[in-house]
């Protein structure tokens, strides 16, 4: 009873529109791919299904970053690490699924271990043969890491840029570690050459469409969960922490507990996104841990409009769509465009695309800022003394 009303509280008009669009996508994409014949104008090629599936994974990841940055002011520059850990957990399961169909045909060891002359499966690979276990780990490993990391960081009141920098150091350290062959995660090459998941061939169109639908469902679920959290009284506390941390403490709220809760939850969402990403992209490797990746997630959120949840999803879709187009047409220009995006969004669009669309404090403010910028930069340049 209480639950249904809570969910109703979460579903506002914008949420409804978003969810409807998501459901439409979950229906249309598989239909256009599977049911429409290949020659037709409306046919959606299979690679596009996986591509859109990847975008939805990124959208879920962006959602997780928006939850902590937009609502609690925690700017994590290491969220790619949680995503990658989730991806590795799923990747390990998919590696075990290959069984004896690998290049070396070893029934127990993945190819890269045979190549490294390993004799037995390392202890931390045990259990990943089971799908539910892998899913559990995709949630738990990022969650536990975030909990431990956050427990230290928030208790010691590491905030602002310091926190951002150490989250970056965290993902950097993990990247270096995962590059090592001795870690037992395939080193440089990561995990790849997957065959199937739960018995479904990963190369088949039906499986891809199925994964797309599952990802859309996960995104919808993640969205509703986040909406529910930020709509609750605890969500109001999170915003209070973001705006006036010290005041929140003097009201009797243990700020570190709230941060720890939301940080861990967010890491677990990122882990799910990673777990869905691996089978659709077909590879997971240490470059997912690179600090540059994590920072890029933040710009998705900024572009869409932080602190809105829907904005994070929109931002992830816009930026990644643009990335696909740009890197296809003029690869040279992509980094210029991405770099300029960072600058323009922070300077002129603090509310992101959603702010522009809403008009309130968006477009008008952006124009005002742009004018002020031009004025200060060029025309008026005098001493600032009294």
């Amino acid at each position: 009873m209480a639950d249904t009303s809570l969910i109703r509280r979460a579903v506002t008009a914008r949420s409804q529109l978003f969810l409807i669009l998501l459901v439409l996508a979950a229906i249309l994409v598989p239909v256009l791919n599977l049911a429409v014949p290949a020659g037709s104008f409306f046919h959606l090629p299979s690679y596009a299904v996986s591509l859109f599936g990847k975008y939805l994974c990124y959208a879920l990841l962006a959602l997780s970053v928006d939850l902590i940055w937009g609502y609690c002011g925690i700017l994590s520059l290491g969220h790619g690490a949680f995503f990658a850990l989730g991806g590795y957990a799923m990747g390990m399961h998919l590696m075990r699924e290959i069984g004896s169909r690998g290049v070396y045909g070893d029934p127990l060891l993945p190819d890269f271990m045979v190549f490294l002359n390993w004799q037995e499966l390392p202890w931390f690979w045990h259990g990943f043969g089971s799908f539910p276990f892998a899913v559990l780990m995709a949630l738990l490993v990022p969650g536990v890491l975030a909990f431990i990391f956050g427990w230290f960081a928030f208790r010691s009141r590491v905030t602002g840029v310091y926190l951002s920098i150490i989250t970056q150091a965290m993902t950097y350290a993990l990247m270096l570690a995962f590059f090592r062959n001795e870690m037992g995660f395939g080193g440089n090459n990561g995990l790849t050459d997957f065959k199937d998941v739960l018995g479904f061939n990963l190369q088949s169109d039906a499986t891809r469409a199925g994964l797309f639908v599952v990802t859309a469902a996960a995104l919808a679920g993640g969205y509703l969960l986040c909406r529910w959290v930020v709509g609750s009284k605890a969500g109001k506390v999170l915003v209070a922490v973001r705006d006036a941390e010290s005041r929140t403490r003097f009201l009797g709220y243990k700020v570190e507990h709230y941060k720890l809760f939301v940080f861990t939850l967010s890491a677990m969402l990122a882990g799910i996104a990673g777990a869905l990403y691996t089978p659709q992209v077909g590879i997971i490797n240490p470059s997912e841990f690179s600090p540059a990746n994590s920072i890029e997630i933040v710009v998705w959120v900024a572009v869409g409009g932080r602190g809105t949840l829907v904005g994070a999803v929109i931002g992830a879709l816009i930026v990644n769509g643009a990335k696909t187009l740009f890197t296809g047409w003029f690869p040279e220009i992509w980094l210029f465009a991405l770099g300029a995006l960072f600058v323009v969004v922070t300077l002129f669009m603090p509310q992101g695309v959603l702010g522009l669309a809403r008009g309130q404090g968006g477009l008008a403010e952006g124009a005002k800022r742009a004018l002020a910028f031009l004025e200060q930069a060029g025309i008026k340049r005098k001493g600032t003394g009294s």
Binding site: L75, F149, F152, A153, R155, S156, R157, V158, G160, V161, Y162, S164, I165, I166, Q168, A169, M170, Y172, A173, L176, A177, F179, R180, P291, A292, I295, V298, V299, A302, E332, W334, L335, F336, L338, G339, A340, L341, F342, V343, V345, T346, L347, P350, F373, Q376, A377, G383, T384, G385, S386
Partner: protein, 543 residues
């Protein structure tokens, strides 16, 4: 039939051999050699031994190659004329080579030559004789090599030859090695006098090094207790010294890494520490400095090659100016609109870093650029057991000089005073007539210029590519955060602590894991001391 044919062939060969002229240098015509050579081809090993001994006493160029070939068991006598050759088996035939020149003389069937057989004791005798023979060669390199061989083999039989060589030797280095070799032999020689053996122990102890330690360790099990005790003591002393030197080497590597970190981080210490601005494009500013160096060297290579040794001296001020101006542009164009919003600054400057990277990639291409070391930065020298390369040494000196210069600038000049004034209280400083906008631009420009200087130095030890900066950004932030923001001394302490810690971990964990461990350590450290090693305390820090 077949046998007949073979014997016919053999006869033909013999005939041919007889016709061919004898190679002039194949054998010495020294008459003193002849009887001993004859004695070699017998079954009487005692006689053979005496013959070898006698041959070694002769002053003839063929002696050394002859003995060497004999010792290796490759000496053959041609039956047709009794001359000696080195021979190699080739199927059923033997290829004969001249002993001295090494030229191929002819190929004979097995039945036309006799192998001169040696036994183990003769082989040892020959090795020893050879060692002592080359001990007195004219070429110092040969003498040195001989002394080294004797030192490694430590055959008591070479002792007399060695002693006479020591007396004749006039090169100090070679004599020192010979004496060490003598000591090494004596230590292990039960037959020698205890006194001279003890003396040998102290010679080895004075010499030090891994080999001396191994010899002394071996001797510490000696039956004579005095020797055993002295040797054990000596070995322990050497081991301790070696450990100290090893420590020293690690410290040097650590200082070297620390100086690189300091250079990369010190500009950041100004922008982050003094201004509170997170400049994620800092690494790219370092990269710009390195590319400035590359450009300067290109111009010099093409138009004024004689200036190459001065290229870095030209590049340093240029890099400071170019990158400093880039910094001013970034501050005026973007950063100043974001004061008080550190997280936004972080994102915007990251965007700038991407643009700079791609710009350099578009202009200079994605591959590594060749930046040369001037002559005064190549090579190195030995300090005890330390190897110190000039480029690392100069970078350390340069880093410290940049640090001292910045410290003086901030503490002792009016410009530095204005910077600190604006940092501490913008409104009041501006009331007092300080142009805060101008000071901001200059401070940021200074931090950027220092990054440019870092780029000049790093171009000497790292690959100059568009990704150069990426490799340093995390490290340099770690240095600033670990040292404590707002404090140049913190950056100094942070850089060298992290550098040395890294190098001390490496032998145990490998380079990558060492880096990971250091990062993990910093993450934990920051959580224990959120304001770094040298925090700014008190009320001011709370706001």
């Amino acid at each position: 039939m077949r046998t007949a044919f073979l014997s016919l062939a053999a006869m033909m060969l013999l005939f041919l051999a007889a016709l061919s002229p004898l190679p002039a240098a194949a054998q010495s015509d020294n008459p003193a050699l002849a009887p001993h050579l004859a004695a070699l081809d017998s079954r009487d090993f005692a006689a053979k031994g005496r013959a070898v001994e006698a041959i070694a006493q002769l002053d003839d160029p063929v002696v050394v190659p002859l003995l060497r070939t004999l010792g290796a068991g490759d000496l053959y006598r041609r039956k047709s004329d009794g001359l000696f050759f080195r021979a190699e088996r080739d199927g059923r035939d033997y290829k004969l080579f001249d002993l001295q020149s090494g030229d191929l003389v002819e190929t004979l069937s097995g039945s036309a030559v006799t192998r001169i057989i040696v036994n183990n004791s003769m082989r040892g005798q020959i090795d020893a004789l050879l060692g002592s023979l080359t001990l007195r060669a004219d070429d110092p390199a040969q003498r040195l090599a001989a002394a080294r061989t004797i030192f490694e083999e430590r055959d008591p039989a070479t002792l007399p030859a060695l002693e006479s060589a020591i007396a004749a030797e006039d090169d100090d280095d070679i004599r020192a090695l010979m004496e060490t070799a003598r000591a090494a032999i004596l230590v292990a020689d039960d037959g020698a006098l205890t006194e001279s053996r003890l003396e040998a122990v102290s010679v080895l102890r004075a010499m030090g090094g891994r080999e001396a330690m191994v010899i002394l360790k071996g001797a510490s099990g000696d039956e004579a207790p005095a020797i055993a005790e002295a040797a054990a003591e000596g070995a322990a002393a050497i081991e301790q010294t070696m450990q100290l030197w090893g420590l020293g080497q690690n410290v040097w590597y650590g200082l070297s890494l620390g100086s690189v970190l300091l250079l990369a981080a010190i500009g950041l210490a100004i922008t982050f520490g003094v201004m509170g601005v997170i400049n994620m494009a800092h690494g790219e500013l370092v990269m710009l400095g390195a590319y400035t160096t590359f450009a300067v060297q290109e111009v010099i290579r093409n138009s004024a090659p004689w200036l190459f040794d001065y290229s870095l001296l030209i590049a340093a001020p240029l890099a400071f100016a170019v990158v400093g101006l880039a910094g001013v542009a970034i501050e005026r164009g973007v950063v100043r609109f974001l004061y008080g919003r550190p997280l936004e600054t972080l994102l915007a400057t990251w965007g700038i870093s991407l643009i700079l990277q791609q710009a350099v990639r578009s202009i200079f291409g994605p591959t590594n650029k060749e930046v040369g070391n001037p002559s005064w930065m190549t090579g190195g020298f030995e300090l005890g057991y330390l190897t110190i390369t000039y480029n690392r040494l100069w970078i350390l000196v340069f880093a410290l000089a940049v640090f001292a210069g910045l410290l003086a600038l901030l503490k002792k000049t009016p410009a530095g005073l204005q910077m600190r004034a604006v940092t501490q209280n913008r409104a009041m400083a501006s009331d007092l007539g300080v142009k805060s906008g101008f000071v901001d631009a200059m401070t940021f420009g200074l931090g950027a210029g220092v990054a440019g200087l870092a780029g000049v130095a790093l171009s000497q030890i790292d690959n100059v590519s568009p990704n150069l900066g990426q490799g340093y950004i995390v490290d340099s932030f770690m240095v600033v955060v670990f040292g404590g923001a707002g404090n140049l001394w913190g950056a100094l302490a942070g850089a060298f602590t992290l550098g040395i810690a890294n190098k001390f971990l490496e032998p145990f964990s490998g380079a990558v894991l060492a880096k990971v461990l250091v990062l993990v350590f910093i993450i934990i450290f920051i959580q224990k001391r959120p304001r770094g090693l040298f925090p700014v305390k008190g009320r001011a820090a709370e706001n």
